[in-house]
Amino acid sequence: MSHDPQADGLSEEQRRELAGVLDALIPASGDGRLPAAGELGLVAQVEEALMRTPDFLPVIHQGLAAATDLAGRLGAGGFASLTAADKQQVLNDLATEHPALVPGLIFHAYGAYYQEPQVVEALGFESRPPFPLGYAMEPDDLTLLERVRQRPKLYRDPSGP
């Protein structure tokens, strides 16, 4: 069965390459608290977002093909199998020929990554929607306003002094 990128999204090979790209865009943190974006399994989510932006799909297809090609010239079987340093270099090299690829992917990658529960909790925040719990806030010390209260009238009054 032939693969129709517009209707079917990415091929399995492209998904593997995209995982490698996501790992390069957001690698694991040095202290191990935060996983890499591809390892976190964000390919499906990013692909879903990409399918909602049909104008960007050709950019993705061409960009991933170019990444695979550049990886091949480095002797690798695909972008995903490059070293971390080589991944960064290839993505930098792609910036000239495919200037929209990385910025467009970053938007979707950052958006998916920073709403993942594992990431949210690793950053020290509660992984939940704001509603229905909301957030408690301490009462304010409104004596802070005494200086402003003592100021004379600040507004002009056309009706009189």
Partner: protein, 534 residues
């Protein structure tokens, strides 16, 4: 759909339409409101889900051009540095607004007399004062008495909490000796009139799941409907028709299935905002009004005012808990509000503090400002930003200029084939100087508060959410579209009650003034019922 004639037909169920309907219901007239949007379901608002941040870029985005909701109509704003932001639903743009609720100042009604530019309003602050008070109670305004920047007023509810972020910014103002005050906010800080108190969710700009934010679907509309006003949704009005006597006699509208209907009315009231109202008037051509209904002055659509915004963000060393609290309501400063010619421009602006960004917002803003690179340095850079941003928006008063206008686009149409509005707007030299001044002052106060870096965006393109001036109020039919109580000079049974009637824009959010005007106009109609069309 009802097609028998009604006494009063209101077009638009937003801020103005709701307040007007509630007030006019006193008369027990047969009142019908047609709204092209629908009732919102708070259980579906983004804050109920973990993807709440990303939805602010999709179905709860600011621009009707990107949202893809069936209720939206496109707007051609290519010829404007500021893009229109509106929302069609029961509640209108109050569904998405931050609920920042300041009043105009007395001087805002006397711009020509005091500063020699623009025009004076045919009414003044005193005319509207009792309506501001009434509206504060109906909407449930939180604030604090004693602000020296305003005549005395008594908000019915205590102010929204400042939190750590607000207190940090307040210290910046104090170090400079500048004015600041807790914002007047249409947010229930205590349980109020059957609505639960605010629980500081944060993303107010994508609808309030708690119901604490005062959108008119949860404030005026239930009360208006209990008084007998009927509200029909998914009804998009195409044009207002005119009888042989030159009076409006009803509207033609499409229902949700695209079927055309006619609704007859004795009085027609426009509440479609400063873009939607002139669009409808211009699309209502007849042999009596070949240039659009009520447009013999040629001023329908002209004098569009937007409030050019600047957005200035500071990056701080310490976490600020900026994800807590109503996102747009915290502190207002009017240090630079009244005209001081030594600054190089006339009129002035407000600062309104903005809480911190969410985790996704921080990453995307960091990407856009070049602070959060991809790759090896990503996490280190992100850690320096997350929960460490706070900012402010600047609301500048732009002056009415006839070349800033709304017209009908010659090609773009909405889903019912109705011509879309086209915006032509240029920033004036006065606005540019005001924006530059405001950005410098904003940086100054953020740095005084402890920010080690600041970033500015001015004018803020997505911030076309205040739509004013395009059917201006006045006593001279050659220089205005409606009279001092909103009645069209050319069509005595046609009223405009939204921000289109503004003569000047002031330097504050318009919603409280829009609603006070709507209440005032409703009262004038009630007082003049026996000779309404004279």
């Amino acid at each position: 759909m009802p097609e028998e004639s009604v006494d009063v037909l209101i077009i638009g169920a937003g801020a103005a339409g709701a307040a007007f309907a509630w007030s006019l219901a006193d008369t027990r007239m047969n009142i019908l409101c047609l709204e092209q949007g629908d009732w919102m379901d708070p259980s579906q608002y983004p804050s109920t889900g973990s993807d709440w941040e990303l939805r602010s870029f999709s179905d709860f985005g600011l621009s009707p051009n990107g949202r893809g909701r069936p209720e939206d109509y496109p707007v051609n704003d290519d010829e404007s540095p500021i893009a229109v932001s509106n929302f069609n639903a029961v509640g209108g743009s109050t569904i998405l607004y931050a609920a920042h609720f300041p009043r105009f100042h007395p001087a805002d009604f006397r711009v020509k007399s005091l500063d020699g530019v623009a025009d004076d309003w045919p009414i003044d602050y005193a005319t509207l004062e009792s309506y501001y008070e009434q509206n504060d109670v109906m909407m449930g305004v939180a604030g604090l008495e004693g602000d020296p920047a305003y005549p005395p007023k008594q908000p019915p509810l205590p102010p929204v909490p400042l939190g750590k972020l607000g207190q940090t910014l307040a210290q910046g103002f104090d170090r400079l000796g500048w004015h600041w005050w807790p914002s007047d906010s249409a947010i229930a800080t205590r349980d109020y009139e059957g609505r639960a108190a605010c629980i500081n969710l944060g993303p107010c700009l994508s609808g309030c799941a708690q119901g604490a934010k005062a959108s008119t679907d949860v404030t005026y509309w239930p009360a208006a409907m209990r008084r007998g006003v009927r509200l029909e949704t998914r009804c998009r009005v195409r044009e207002i028709s005119v009888g042989e006597n030159g009076l409006a006699d009803g509207v033609i509208y499409y229902d949700a299935d695209g079927v055309e209907h006619r609704q007859k009315a004795e009085v027609v009231v426009l509440a479609c905002n400063g873009v939607g109202t002139p669009r409808l008037l211009l699309n209502s051509r007849s042999k009596q009004f070949p240039d659009g209904l009520a447009n013999r002055s040629g001023l329908v659509g002209r004098n569009l005012m937007f409030h050019p915004y600047a957005h200035v963000t500071g990056v701080f060393e310490e976490p600020l808990e900026g994800y807590k609290g109503p996102t747009g309501c915290c502190i207002i400063s009017q240090e630079f509000y009244e005209t001081d010619a030594s600054r190089g421009f006339v009129r002035g602006y407000s600062f309104e503090m903005i809480r911190g960004m969410g985790l996704v917002g921080t990453a995307l803003w960091g990407m856009g400002t070049g602070q959060v690179p991809w790759g090896a340095k990503h996490h280190e850079a992100y850690a320096r930003l997350v929960d460490r941003t706070a900012g402010m928006v600047v609301i500048c008063e732009d002056l009415p200029e006839p070349h800033n206008r709304v017209t009908l686009d010659p090609e773009l149409v909405d889903g019912n084939g109705i011509p879309a509005p086209k915006i032509n707007y240029q920033l004036s030299e006065n606005s540019r100087k005001m924006l530059d001044h405001s950005v410098d002052r904003a940086r100054e106060v953020l740095e005084a508060a402890g920010a080690h870096k600041t970033f500015a965006d001015a004018p803020l393109r997505p911030a076309g959410w205040h739509l004013m001036g395009t059917a201006r109020m006045g006593t001279d039919p050659e220089r205005s579209v409606v009279n001092e109580w909103g009645r069209a000079h050319d069509v005595h049974n046609l009223f405009v009650i939204d921000g289109s009637v503004f003569v000047t824009a002031a330097g504050v959010n318009p919603t409280n003034t829009i609603q006070a005007l709507a209440l005032y106009i409703a009262d004038q109609i009630k007082k003049n019922l026996t000779n309404l069309f004279d």
